[in-house]
């Protein structure tokens, strides 16, 4: 989970690299002439598979759990039923369909959260790094406050407060709708990533805004906003993209942790984490129910981490923790 927060490790790891001097004024560095290795292709392939599967399978596959159960397919695991290699769960749901639906929710939540975090955190970091001094001080204190609460505990509290109960028109308490919970998950996990994304953006912005071409643009009369967006931002983007990939992986795992504590996605939505949480009681008799989503999470995180590293290497990105 967040235990090996690649973001924080990545930050520090790359602080150690010695950067090579860049040509001034370049928006994009010339990519190295290096073919992608087999690992990168595997990672890209897996992620594409997940994306395509998540989009198409729920649309195209129609599987009625009761009908499957009546046909005797329930609790039939890997390779037990011809034509359905991933098996069926205890209630008769087709595992492939569950995994695809799970991919939808897991990706929706993680990409949504990181996008939210990038938009807010990235902007704040850009502003802090560009304007420095007072603004930077205030924003940094804000980031420190957010960072002072352990990430997972903060996310947990946010979800509990905003999406554990809803009050309906007659004043009765009841659990929130599945959609609302998903929105709150995106919001909560996004908020948690804001300080880290902000700091990385800030560090990169600090470094880039010292460069001559930025000063040149300002000397030519460009406004601060224009300079920030047109000169600094494009150079900061590769770092943010790399961190975004790593961050998506972290959020996928975090959602899993939240599901085990009962505050993940709500039925009828399914996520890989909620599949693990629900099937964990049957681990002894139907281990594949738990192992299949674990494998999906594993490969997704592996691929995202790998690609994040590749992006970093390619663009020779430098990120500092200081």
């Amino acid at each position: 989970m967040l235990a090996s927060s690649p973001n924080t490790i990545a930050e520090t790891e790359l602080a150690l690299e010695h950067p090579e001097p860049k040509e001034p004024g370049s928006r994009w560095r010339r990519p190295r002439r290096q073919r992608l290795g087999i690992g990168a292709w595997f990672a890209i392939g897996w992620l594409l598979l997940v994306l395509v599967g998540a989009t198409l399978i729920p649309m195209l596959m129609h599987s009625n759990a009761i009908a499957n159960a009546e046909a005797g397919h329930s609790s039939q695991g890997l390779f037990k039923v011809p034509g359905h290699p991933l098996g069926f769960d205890r209630n008769g749901n087709e595992m492939l369909l569950l995994l695809a639906k799970g991919a939808r929710s897991s990706l929706l939540v993680s990409v949504g959260a990181i996008t939210f975090g990038l938009l807010v955190g990235g902007s704040l970091g850009l502003i802090a790094g560009y304007f420095k001094r007072g603004v930077d001080g205030a924003l940094s204190t804000f980031f420190n406050v957010l960072l002072a609460i352990p990430q997972f505990v903060l996310a947990l509290s946010l979800v509990t407060v905003f999406a554990s109960t809803a009050i309906d028109s007659t004043g009765n308490q009841h659990p929130p709708s599945s959609g609302r919970r998903m929105l709150v998950l995106i919001f909560a996990l996004g908020v948690v990533t804001i300080p880290i994304l902000a700091r990385i953006t800030r560090a990169n912005t600090l470094q880039w805004s010292q460069r001559e071409f930025v000063m040149a643009a300002r000397a030519q009369g460009a406004t601060n906003f224009r300079t920030m967006v047109r000169e600094v931002l494009p150079n900061v983007l590769p770092a943010m993209f790399s961190i975004a990939l790593l961050g998506i992986a972290v959020v996928v795992v975090a959602e899993g942790g939240l599901s085990i504590l009962g505050v993940g996605v709500l039925s009828p939505a399914v996520s890989w984490g909620s599949m693990i949480a629900i099937s964990r009681a049957d681990l002894q008799t139907l281990p594949y129910e738990v192992l299949e989503p674990i494998v999906c999470i594993f490969f997704t995180v592996l691929s995202l981490n790998f690609l994040g590293d590749v992006v970093r290497a390619r663009f020779d990105v430098r990120e500092s923790a200081i």
Partner: protein, 319 residues
Amino acid sequence: MRAALRRVVQLVVVLLCVSFFSFALLSLAPGDPVTAIVGFGSPAQLAKVRHQLHFDRPFLEQYWSWLSGLLHGDLGNQYFGPTGVQKVSTSIGQSLPVSLQLMAYAMILTILIAIPLGVLAAYRSGTFIDKAINTTAFGAIALPDFALALILSYWVGVKLHWLPSQSYVHPTDDFVQHLRHMVLPAVSLAVGQIAAYMRLLRSDMIATLQEDFILMAKAKGITNRRILWRHALRPSSLTLLTVAGLNVGALIGGTVVIEVIFQIPGMGTLLYTAIAERQYVMLQSLVVVIAVAYVLVNVFIDILYNVLDPRLRHARVIT
């Protein structure tokens, strides 16, 4: 001296903000907090509890009385039905040591395994051993700690019966059993950490090993082993320390889920219970206690960092 004073002021500001934030956050929870806490009772009973908990007062006044209570060690109450009451500080007093033990064991395992592995991988950089360690670490990071926990608790705990797969034994009751019960949870937490720290140490040491002073040491005839452990490791350990601070937060998060999976009565289980039972008062106090502990740990690490790195001892710390 001025720098230290500034840090202290900053610390107090952060702590105040954190406490206000936690309080405000949980006050936003929908629904009548009294019925959430007390369940059902007569309107008179509910009104009495509402008055006791100051829920009938304006927001800032509530915050102030809560904060002053907090500073006096009154962390509020946990409610059982209309009349049952237990102090949260008692529950925390019982659970915090358990969580601290678990995290300590995980950290000890991490240090004992990650450092030698990192040094080995850096020393043998580029060889098969290095590749093997690095790849395994990369894979280990991708496996969530709760997934590893489930796998271990099933295979090692139930199938093989080698170690207990749940619950907790107090160290004073039976130290051996205490350790046996902690092995699987600590290992689940540690594996991801080991991988991350190992990779970090490795890349850091590879950089350090290319520095001139290492070459100088080798020229002086110092053995490889001494170079590795006494000369190269020291600067690299600072990086580890920096990351350790940030990672304690992640460790805390991991502990919450691991405790629930292994049924260990620590702060994580307490948190889980507070959420499930909608005990918002208890939740507020728990979040604040965890945040304060976390901030203090980071301060401690900062101090340690300053002490260990002579370059920083006399320089201004830039934040």
